[in-house]
């Protein structure tokens, strides 16, 4: 089981007049088979938090620890834009992040491509695919390393509504099946309520303002009364925190 421990995390960019506080004194524990959504207005440090957790950025202060059964956990990262190597085929993009190129690895990559319905697109270059298909390749890439924790930064925000909805379902399905931890950034409260059992609300200045548990059964239908109530509850929190204006 994976575990994330964040202690007194502080992150600043720039110096002097250009100084920006991206995260301020964040303390947080996530463990087990959770689906945690991080919501908040743009610029509140959501991407920065994920970048620190995945080792792209280093904290200014404080510590982060991601472990899985006592050893350092392997993270998978799905970015807001697919971030594929345009000069490599879809299959080679998946192989790029693997530790080896053995037959077993290749089969695993193919399996995850099939899972996002792109089993026959392995020989294509990313430029030959639509935006939605590229994003699915990005998702397959993150899954293909079979990470202990899956980080996703607004993965569906560039997609059309129908594709996004289908992918949300697929994601929920995979989370349910693999029992992996997912940390999911979004600025869409409806999406967060539909997918997660825990919602973290961040405010401008990178402060963690609220930690909401949502204990409703899956799959959740946005039209369902209880889901609508939960969503209204989160939106009310937003109002209280005066986040809607931003």
């Amino acid at each position: 089981m994976a575990e994330i421990r964040i202690k007194n995390l502080h992150k600043e960019f720039g110096v002097g007049d250009d100084k920006v506080v991206a995260l301020e004194d964040v303390n947080l524990d996530i463990s087990g088979h959770s689906f945690v959504s991080i919501v908040g207005p743009s610029g509140c440090g959501k991407s920065t938090l994920l970048n620190i957790l995945t080792g792209i950025e280093t904290p200014t202060n404080g510590t982060v620890e991601i472990t899985s059964d006592g050893h350092v956990a392997a993270p998978g990262y799905v970015f807001q834009a697919a971030r594929l190597l345009p000069w490599r085929t879809v299959t080679d993009n998946l192989l790029f992040v693997q530790e080896d190129r053995s037959e077993g690895t290749k089969e695993r990559c193919q399996r995850y491509l099939e899972m996002v319905q792109l089993g026959d697109k392995g020989d294509k270059f990313p430029g030959e695919l639509s935006g939605g298909m590229q994003q699915r390749v990005g998702i397959a890439r993150a899954f293909s390393i079979e990470p202990d924790v899956l980080f996703m930064d607004e993965p569906f925000s560039h997609l059309d509504a129908i594709t996004a909805r289908a992918l949300r379902r697929e994601l929920h399905h995979m989370w349910d099946e693999t029992k992996k931890m997912v940390v999911f950034v979004t600025h869409d409260v409806g999406e967060a309520v539909e997918l997660s059992n825990r919602i973290l609300v961040f405010a401008k200045g990178g402060r963690l303002e609220d930690d909401i548990q949502i204990d409703l059964p899956f799959p959740r239908d946005p039209a369902d009364d209880e889901v609508a109530v939960a969503k209204a509850h989160v939106l009310r929190k937003f109002e209280e925190l005066d986040l809607l204006a931003s």
């Binding site: 792209i56 990262y77 490599r88 430029g127 129908i162 869409d188 409806g190 946005p222």
Partner: protein, 315 residues
Amino acid sequence: MTVTETRPGTAGSQPAPNPGQRLFAIPTKIAKSPLSARVLFPIVLFAVWELSLIAVEEIWPFAVDVLPTPSEVGGFMWDEFITDTLARKNLYETFFISLRRLLSGFAIAMVLGTALGLAMGLSRATNAFCHDWTMAILAMPALAWALFNSIIFGFDDRGPILTVILAGIPFVIVNVREGVRNTPRELFDMARSFQVPQSKVIRHVLVPSLMPFMFAAARYCFSIGWKGLVIAEVFGGQDGAGWTIKFWYDAHRAHGVVGYAAFFVIFAILFERLVFEPISRRAFRWRPQLQTEVVEEAFGEHHEHYGEEETARHG
């Protein structure tokens, strides 16, 4: 009154053409096609050439002895082609000599220019130190290099080769530096988050991202270097393409000068078509062609009404 605008080529929205229009459709199509325009160019060129010779003859009859006609030039080029020449070396020997110099200079300029460009792209201090020098070399006409080098080296290979290097290297430096400055940061971050080893990142991210810039550098370096080489050979050579055009000039053979100039153009075009284009096609296979159809495929089943999520956006 209503005004309807129809853009040409948008199918379905155009009214049916009347019979009169249809009659002219085919000739108009031929007249508008890029291919016929291309074919028309040499015809127009030769016509203007012949006609202006006739016109000049009217005004100043003696000039005709000097000005070459298309058939004279064509005949000269054919003789050169079958190695029947008055010059000391035939066409193929001449171009082989020049090509050897060009490729030596080109290779040196590419290697040195890439090294300098990398250093300048990676280090601000190096860039500050080299920037003005690069610009100065860039601003210097190839003619000046050719003259300097022939003074220094006299009549051997070094002058022309150095001219190629000096003419080409600023383009290599500038392009490689831009390439380094434009490396895709987000792809490096991606690789780091997936803990991809450094050597793999260099091979699969850094090098491919530099390729378009390297390629632009090579093309410029080659074509500018070629022009520099010809000038250098005029002043500081005993053979080569530049020397040979000067030979025809000194021999008062205007058709030789024009014909040799045409060989220069043919040489450059052949190189572009036979070397650069095939390499470019192979290296940039991944670039989406304009013709490639990008299809958004339906993903999974999605028959349900959607709309809730859109209304709950923040930030």
